[in-house]
Symmetry: C2
């Protein structure tokens, strides 16, 4: 085990016995790698390290929950159960944005302010398309240079590969571990495509949408329905010659938000401006977010939503488990695409096709 | 069989061998009831009658697809397969609205105009909460007096009971039958609560949202995200002293709609005003809808969306089938609520609970 007092922020290099690792390119850690391979941590080791706030152990535990190997799942479950009860008062903030809104620079600037105020911040991500080998870690690290070296920040790139459900499970479990390690503010970032925003929404307390003044083409990059899900819209890049446009956009969005159905929390979403360069507006955004948490905690919505999310994820995991077994069945796999084609071309009804496939599955379970 | 040339619009009174019926209160149809009970229609009879545009047979066939009895499902599937290829160019219009927007009167007025222009209109509904015994049919009928007696309109209340998925399946199958019977415009109405709007959205080509000027409290009645799904917002009750308010609301919503992410179809949603009393604006709304269909057909989106909806419903039905089997399992039923409670109270992780329940199911399948 490395020196426990030295936080290791390079989670890509954290290794763990038996877990598939990205190729190690740093020749200096060869020893470390070997030493760790030889030693397998027990659940007690993990829990103890996490609760002590040890970053190395936290990273290793996240690597463990990201593994799909059965023996890893067993120990991961034990760790999660024992870490479960922490993080009851944390702020889980989902963040997405239109392409070009400068999500990474915003997180860098906003996150730096959050830690400077005494919070411990974990930045997680959900990006089903990410693959470690494609260098997304390096990308994140380069774009968040200051936050990466901030002792009160922990940045973990999106778990690689797998279905959105799989990635979501890993991220949600990572939240539990981070909170047990003392991180009280969690950013859950999404790339903003397809279903990933709704997934982030289902595991965060507050949803922040980053928009650009002028919008237009950038709006193509986000899913419809996201605006109505947002608790706060931040118009980024409100600096220099862009200030007037951003202020106008802020007014437009504020007006539009008032036309939306109210959220169940009783919160009235609003629009604000910010600049990751001048830092203008960042503190106001944090104040607004803290106002939300104060309100949602006092009216009980915060706790209610957390409970509902827990239930949601139980059912979601069951459904995903059932689907996985079905679609992994070799009889289904050999016939599915033909059925799908017949349905799409109108040769076969959707319900008839489904009924036949369910029958095939039942006979070959 | 009754006289085939006399359309029978009172679908509640249509009877069919072996299918559970609402109590028959009209003493004059005693004979009819008996005669039909004795005679069971074959799939050929149904298909022939439907394709000939016979309303009585259409109603009977819908009653058949609404049945969950296995032998009914078998014959229903055959009918559906043979009716499947029709309705390729129809207009399926999903309609929802805030409470108080006057959905029924709008459908009555707008539907009357649609049929007066030579269309054949079927009005279907998705309302998982409806129950026949509670008189929802009578409710609909009373609120749509003129449309009920219109020979070119066919009104069918929401199938009763069951899960949203079950109700959705029945409505989607009813669309297929109505289109095969020559109805080229289909309204699919929803009560606007919970998930039913997204369900309607997944089976319609165009989504119309009815709103009120002033909004406010009425907005509580619709789900967030619906506005961004809408292809057209109609501000109803734009008559008398309300005209100015409605015109202002139209402008506000039009501006807000421009801030939304564009829809994949290339369509730019807009807001319009209408009055079900003076009929002002109704023709403009229809023109706008037809403009959408002309565009979506020429750029291919209409056909693409239909194909995707068919695929969606195949997968959705498979997923629902898998869920039904799981949650109907007696071992799951006896343990589920305890797990759910443990998860919601934070005593057990969502994923661990799901994994345990899936294990229990696997052992007791």
């Amino acid at each position: 085990m490395q020196d426990m007092n030295q936080p290791n922020h390079d989670s890509a290099l954290i290794v763990n016995e038996g877990i598939e690792q990205p190729p190690i390119v740093n020749p200096y850690i060869g020893n470390f790698y070997k030493k760790n391979r030889a030693k397998s941590l027990t659940a007690d080791d993990y829990v103890e390290g996490i609760l002590a706030g040890n970053i190395t152990t936290l990273s290793q535990a996240i690597t463990l929950v990201e593994s799909n190997r059965h023996d890893h799942r067993v120990i991961a479950m034990e760790i999660l159960e024992r870490c479960q009860s922490h993080g009851k008062e944390s702020m889980r903030i989902g963040i997405t944005g239109v392409p070009g809104a400068g999500k990474s620079t915003f997180i860098e600037a906003f996150g730096g302010m959050v830690t400077s105020l005494g919070h411990k911040l974990a930045v997680l991500a959900i990006d089903p398309s990410s693959e470690r080998s494609k260098g997304s870690i390096l990308g994140d690290k380069t774009r968040m240079e200051t936050l990466c070296t901030d002792p009160n920040a922990f940045i973990r790139p999106s778990p690689s590969g797998g279905s959105l459900g799989g990635v979501a499970r890993k991220t949600r479990e990572s939240i539990v571990l981070c909170e047990a390690a003392g991180f009280d503010v969690i950013f859950i970032e999404t790339v903003g495509v397809g279903q990933s925003e709704t997934t982030v929404h289902s595991m965060s307390d507050f949803f922040l949408l980053l928009m650009l003044a002028g919008a237009g083409d950038e709006l193509q990059g986000i899913k419809r329905g996201i605006m109505e899900m947002s608790d706060l819209i931040a118009i980024t890049k409100a600096d220099g010659s862009n200030i007037d446009k951003a202020t106008l956009a802020r007014a437009l969005y504020s007006n539009a938000l008032h036309l939306f159905p109210p959220s169940e929390s009783g919160w009235v979403p609003t629009a604000m401006t910010s600049s990751s360069v001048t830092k203008a507006g960042l503190k106001d955004i944090l104040d607004k977010i803290e106002e939300y948490f104060a309100m949602a905690k006092s009216n009980g919505y915060y706790y209610k939503k957390r409970k509902e999310q827990s239930r949601f994820w139980m059912y979601e995991t069951i459904n995903e488990g059932l689907r996985d077994r079905f679609f992994d069945n070799e009889h289904i796999q050999s016939k599915l695409s033909r059925y799908e084609e017949d349905v799409m071309e109108g040769r076969l009804g959707s319900f008839a096709a489904a009924a036949e496939l369910l029958d095939i599955y039942k006979k070959n379970i």
